[in-house]
Symmetry: C2
Subunit: 454 residues, 2 copies
């Protein structure tokens, strides 16, 4: 017999004489003449209630199997008298595929702390909360692809292994095939030093200069030794790059992407989101729906600094024109002042990387960040410097050797065109979507300093 | 004015008084009273022919701009008298956004060798061939997601950074934040040795044991020091994992995935595929269409060995029951004997990894590979060993410490269930789809021994 996924069985139009479902027992209640086993197979948040009459073969086969056991249940799909579900399965045949000893199985039915569950990351996807988180993650990822596909963007795969360092940040992982202690890079796999990418942007720019509109969606790495709820050493980034586009197009694209993903997740993950709204973040659904109701706020960096200066808030980092915005500033703007996502643009040139396009004021660059309540920076992007002379000068100003960037400057030497793009931290978007406060809980197996289990 | 993508302009239903297109000049012909400039923006293989009358402002603005220049062209979209295109743009206004000096621009109009183009990987996406290859790559990647989504699989992101070694292969890259020469792993970022993953399978199994059906689609790494046209140090893999599934389900899923992607690429990338059919691989379209016409062949490993033994072919590696199939054997089976993709299953236990399920014959495991003409192994998968005692014994037999696999064996300790999955090398699939013979040419910026440019 063909197995039926629980999501399909629960959405059935009519009763069925015989279905086979497989999944894991989430609860078992033994009453007078029958037992109720709630079975979940991960296809949706809801369980299938299986009713096992005492004295039947099915009951004998069920034996002592309890919470966590893997079961195959065959029987009639019939309307459920219970109020929580439309259908239930009247078990006729049960096979226990794998037991879970109640003495040692860590996921008995009770609520566990996030911290405890991180220690059993190989089992936590069996809980309602993490099952929901990872289904939402998948739906959001699909929505990212959908958004770009509708706009003729080409999904490109830029390399993880790189010989260069995009942002000039020193915090990179080094990759080698030499044994520990050996230091002759000439003998290494690539006969030179190799690192894990912090961004696919530079390569994405090259691709955009031929394919027009591209985006990357893949892992990126930062070796920052900081233990915060918002940073992981390995995370996924979305990085679109558009030829023939300026900073305004870039803002529109970033806002459009976020709205599209929020909309699709609201549409497709209703039950999973309700779990987070009930148990994790009471205002989640209100906040997500409100995001769709009006355009994001937009202010220049200069205006943002004036708003921060005139606020009553005392900040750890003093507010002064020319500073980079800190998380406390970003959150004040989005959470307290605007109470919605806000796009800040035209940042001082000194706090931004060499590749951002210099504005005519000689003071700012055509950069834009999208800041969200509770998250801070969700998107960071810019129009790129397409003028060879200005780019070369900026490389020199920031202490870089233009020769190391020969292929990147080539893009300005041959058929250069205005172009723009941004990076969106996918895990930050998931934190926005679920209300989960720690990045470790939106990644199945998170990597942070000192933490490489599983 | 809103810019129009060339793919949209070429598909227009009606003429339009004014459109603005942006792109790069692919050719320029100056005839008696007008110039013809073919402009490409990467949105499709086809160019937009722009007609520039001599003596106009547009002609003056065009100046000497030639092949490779980035242009913005505004004008009427009118029916083209030429036979190659339905529409052309009568240029009224032209802006040259970036020149390309004909003396130094490497992509003048003529055919270049693949090898030459690998040396300018940052520019080769501007050619017809590589533009087409990367559009097909994007379409195929979309089709992968589409296939799994239709079947309720959850896209999961398994870590690239790992402390363990899935297949017991020694060929892994090591990742560190220590300076070269330093060897104290205790001082390293993760306070232990860290590697780049060769497969997300073990983690995907953990996810399948909660979410039911999952797949990964991300980069994987092999530090094999071999320069072949079929191996890269960094490549993308698709790895589905299904709970409550056996080896037959696994074969069906693998075959279904390949057929779906071929079908969708035939449907959506007609012009791009025709380029490869014309210039790269004369039988490409015939072969792809034939793949959809009948089911893949299926033979056991034992049958495959008999077929190889009874062939007239002389092989470098001698054919004997118990050997692992080599590429020459795989290609003989798929290309010459079956002349279509073939699934070989039930391999000898000795040539396969510890996690594959032992068959009752005590000699073979429930493994399956899908072999394709010209490619060899495209998919490798198996039913996984779900029995704790057998798995533990297999770990010991293959020289591994079960304690190192504590979380992986936990999956068999608590609610174990039959499950199966496979890995598909995405670049191999692209070689099948395009006829491109070298893996370096289906990856925008390939990584191979000694080669880390861009």
């Amino acid at each position: 017999m063909q197995k039926t996924l629980i999501v399909d069985a629960l959405n059935a139009e009519t009763a069925q004489d015989a279905v086979q479902i497989c999944g894991w027992a989430r609860t078992r209640r033994d009453l007078g003449t029958c037992s109720f086993v709630e079975v979940n197979d991960g296809s949706c948040l809801a369980n299938m209630q299986c009713v096992v009459d005492h004295g039947t073969d099915a009951y004998a086969s069920l034996g002592s199997a309890g919470v966590g056991a893997a079961l195959s249940v065959t029987g009639a799909l019939t309307p459920s008298p219970g109020k929580d579900q439309k259908w239930e399965v009247r078990a006729e045949k049960i096979r226990v595929l794998g037991h879970a000893d109640p003495e040692t199985y860590p996921l008995q039915k009770k609520r566990h702390s996030d911290e405890f569950l991180r220690g059993i990351a190989h089992l936590r996807m069996r809980t309602n909360k993490y099952g929901a988180a990872f289904r939402i993650r998948s739906q959001a990822a699909w929505a990212v692809h959908e958004f770009f596909r509708e706009r003729h963007f080409v999904w490109v795969h830029t390399p993880v292994l790189t010989g260069s360092d995009c942002e000039g940040a020193g915090e990179m992982f080094r990759v080698t095939t030499l044994p520990p202690g050996e230091e002759n890079a000439g003998k290494d796999f690539f006969t030179r030093n190799c690192y894990l990418t912090v961004s696919g942007q530079l390569e994405a720019e090259a691709l955009a200069m031929g394919l027009g509109r591209v985006y990357t969606f893949g892992p990126a790495f930062r070796a920052e030794n900081s233990n915060t709820p918002r940073h992981a050493a390995e995370f996924w980034m979305v990085e679109p790059e558009m030829a023939f586009a300026d900073i305004m197009d870039c803002m529109e694209l970033g806002e459009g992407l976020i709205r599209h993903v929020v909309e699709r997740v609201l549409e497709h993950c209703e039950a999973d989101l309700r779990l987070f709204d009930n148990f994790v973040d009471k205002d989640l659904l209100i906040r997500l729906r409100a995001m769709l109701e009006k355009p994001f706020a937009r202010v220049t960096y200069a205006e943002a600094v004036r708003l921060l200066e005139s606020s009553d808030k005392s900040f750890v980092f003093p507010v002064v024109f020319g500073m980079d915005l800190q998380t406390e500033h970003e959150r004040y703007l989005a959470e307290e002042h605007f109470q919605q996502p806000v796009i800040v643009y035209d940042y001082p040139r000194e706090v931004k990387p060499f590749y951002m396009r210099c504005n005519n004021d000689n003071e700012t660059v055509a950069a834009m960040d999208i800041l969200a309540p509770r998250i801070g920076e969700l998107v960071g992007g810019s129009q790129r410097e397409e003028r060879l002379d200005v780019l070369t000068q900026r490389l020199q100003e920031t202490g870089k050797d233009p020769d190391d960037y020969w292929w990147y400057t080539d893009l300005r030497r041959f058929g250069s065109a205005p172009h723009a793009g941004f990076g969106l931290g996918f895990e930050r978007l998931l934190m926005l979507l679920t209300g989960i406060a720690n990045i470790r809980d939106v990644i199945p197996f998170p990597r942070t300093p000192g933490s490489l289990d599983f």
